[in-house]
Homo-oligomer: 73 residues x 2
Protein backbone atom coordinates (compact mmCIF):
# COMPACT_ATOMS: atom_id res chain seq x y z
CA UNK A 1 0.00 0.00 0.00
CA UNK A 2 1.35 3.42 -0.91
CA UNK A 3 2.68 5.27 2.11
CA UNK A 4 2.84 2.29 4.45
CA UNK A 5 6.00 2.18 6.53
CA UNK A 6 7.73 -1.17 5.77
CA UNK A 7 8.36 -1.45 9.50
CA UNK A 8 4.70 -2.36 9.91
CA UNK A 9 4.64 -5.19 7.39
CA UNK A 10 3.32 -8.34 9.05
CA UNK A 11 6.36 -10.39 8.06
CA UNK A 12 8.69 -7.99 9.87
CA UNK A 13 6.79 -8.26 13.18
CA UNK A 14 8.67 -10.35 15.72
CA UNK A 15 5.51 -10.62 17.82
CA UNK A 16 3.66 -12.24 14.91
CA UNK A 17 6.48 -14.70 14.16
CA UNK A 18 6.46 -15.79 17.80
CA UNK A 19 2.66 -15.89 17.99
CA UNK A 20 2.39 -18.08 14.88
CA UNK A 21 5.27 -20.37 15.80
CA UNK A 22 3.83 -20.93 19.27
CA UNK A 23 0.31 -21.58 17.95
CA UNK A 24 1.55 -24.07 15.38
CA UNK A 25 3.71 -25.97 17.85
CA UNK A 26 0.98 -26.00 20.51
CA UNK A 27 -1.57 -27.21 17.97
CA UNK A 28 0.67 -30.19 17.21
CA UNK A 29 0.17 -31.24 20.83
CA UNK A 30 -3.62 -30.92 20.72
CA UNK A 31 -4.59 -34.33 19.32
CA UNK A 32 -2.08 -36.46 21.28
CA UNK A 33 -3.06 -34.65 24.50
CA UNK A 34 -6.77 -34.93 23.73
CA UNK A 35 -6.28 -38.69 23.65
CA UNK A 36 -5.27 -38.56 27.33
CA UNK A 37 -7.79 -35.86 28.25
CA UNK A 38 -5.43 -32.93 28.74
CA UNK A 39 -5.32 -29.42 27.33
CA UNK A 40 -1.92 -27.89 26.61
CA UNK A 41 -1.79 -25.78 29.82
CA UNK A 42 -2.85 -28.88 31.80
CA UNK A 43 0.02 -30.78 30.18
CA UNK A 44 2.45 -28.06 31.33
CA UNK A 45 1.11 -28.36 34.88
CA UNK A 46 1.66 -32.14 34.74
CA UNK A 47 5.28 -31.59 33.66
CA UNK A 48 5.89 -29.17 36.52
CA UNK A 49 4.33 -31.50 39.12
CA UNK A 50 6.29 -34.41 37.71
CA UNK A 51 9.49 -32.47 38.37
CA UNK A 52 8.47 -31.36 41.84
CA UNK A 53 5.23 -32.36 43.48
CA UNK A 54 3.18 -30.49 46.13
CA UNK A 55 3.29 -27.01 44.64
CA UNK A 56 0.64 -24.43 45.29
CA UNK A 57 -1.48 -22.95 42.51
CA UNK A 58 0.42 -19.68 43.01
CA UNK A 59 3.78 -21.45 42.58
CA UNK A 60 2.50 -23.24 39.49
CA UNK A 61 1.40 -19.91 38.06
CA UNK A 62 4.81 -18.39 38.66
CA UNK A 63 6.66 -21.31 37.13
CA UNK A 64 4.43 -21.39 34.07
CA UNK A 65 3.85 -17.63 33.81
CA UNK A 66 0.12 -18.35 33.71
CA UNK A 67 -2.49 -16.23 35.43
CA UNK A 68 -4.82 -17.61 38.06
CA UNK A 69 -7.74 -17.61 35.61
CA UNK A 70 -5.95 -20.12 33.40
CA UNK A 71 -5.01 -22.17 36.44
CA UNK A 72 -8.21 -22.19 38.48
CA UNK A 73 -8.90 -25.82 39.49
CA UNK B 1 12.17 -36.50 40.97
CA UNK B 2 13.87 -39.84 40.94
CA UNK B 3 13.36 -41.68 37.68
CA UNK B 4 12.18 -38.70 35.66
CA UNK B 5 13.72 -38.58 32.21
CA UNK B 6 15.57 -35.22 31.92
CA UNK B 7 14.06 -34.95 28.44
CA UNK B 8 10.77 -34.05 30.10
CA UNK B 9 12.09 -31.22 32.26
CA UNK B 10 10.05 -28.08 31.57
CA UNK B 11 13.11 -26.01 30.75
CA UNK B 12 14.11 -28.38 27.96
CA UNK B 13 10.69 -28.14 26.23
CA UNK B 14 10.89 -26.04 23.07
CA UNK B 15 7.09 -25.79 23.03
CA UNK B 16 7.12 -24.18 26.49
CA UNK B 17 9.88 -21.70 25.59
CA UNK B 18 7.87 -20.60 22.54
CA UNK B 19 4.59 -20.53 24.46
CA UNK B 20 6.06 -18.36 27.22
CA UNK B 21 7.95 -16.03 24.88
CA UNK B 22 4.86 -15.49 22.76
CA UNK B 23 2.62 -14.87 25.79
CA UNK B 24 5.05 -12.36 27.27
CA UNK B 25 5.50 -10.44 24.02
CA UNK B 26 1.77 -10.43 23.28
CA UNK B 27 1.01 -9.24 26.80
CA UNK B 28 3.29 -6.23 26.22
CA UNK B 29 0.87 -5.19 23.46
CA UNK B 30 -2.22 -5.52 25.65
CA UNK B 31 -2.29 -2.12 27.33
CA UNK B 32 -1.28 0.01 24.31
CA UNK B 33 -3.85 -1.81 22.15
CA UNK B 34 -6.53 -1.55 24.81
CA UNK B 35 -6.12 2.22 24.61
CA UNK B 36 -7.27 2.07 20.98
CA UNK B 37 -9.87 -0.63 21.58
CA UNK B 38 -8.14 -3.56 19.87
CA UNK B 39 -7.26 -7.07 20.99
CA UNK B 40 -4.01 -8.56 19.74
CA UNK B 41 -5.64 -10.68 16.99
CA UNK B 42 -7.62 -7.60 15.89
CA UNK B 43 -4.35 -5.69 15.68
CA UNK B 44 -2.92 -8.39 13.40
CA UNK B 45 -5.97 -8.11 11.15
CA UNK B 46 -5.46 -4.34 10.97
CA UNK B 47 -1.84 -4.85 9.91
CA UNK B 48 -2.88 -7.26 7.17
CA UNK B 49 -5.61 -4.97 5.85
CA UNK B 50 -3.21 -2.04 5.97
CA UNK B 51 -0.86 -3.95 3.68
CA UNK B 52 -3.63 -5.07 1.33
CA UNK B 53 -7.25 -4.10 1.70
CA UNK B 54 -10.38 -5.97 0.57
CA UNK B 55 -9.46 -9.44 1.77
CA UNK B 56 -12.03 -12.05 2.68
CA UNK B 57 -12.27 -13.54 6.16
CA UNK B 58 -10.95 -16.80 4.69
CA UNK B 59 -7.91 -15.02 3.23
CA UNK B 60 -7.30 -13.23 6.52
CA UNK B 61 -7.44 -16.56 8.32
CA UNK B 62 -4.90 -18.06 5.95
CA UNK B 63 -2.52 -15.13 6.23
CA UNK B 64 -2.71 -15.05 10.01
CA UNK B 65 -3.04 -18.82 10.55
CA UNK B 66 -6.11 -18.12 12.68
CA UNK B 67 -9.21 -20.25 12.67
CA UNK B 68 -12.62 -18.90 11.73
CA UNK B 69 -13.72 -18.92 15.38
CA UNK B 70 -11.06 -16.37 16.25
CA UNK B 71 -11.93 -14.31 13.18
CA UNK B 72 -15.74 -14.31 13.23
CA UNK B 73 -16.86 -10.69 12.76
Amino acid sequence: MVGMDPEFRLDTQLCFALYTASRKVTSAYREPLKAIGLTYPQYLVMLVLWEQDHRSVRQLGETLALDSGTLSP
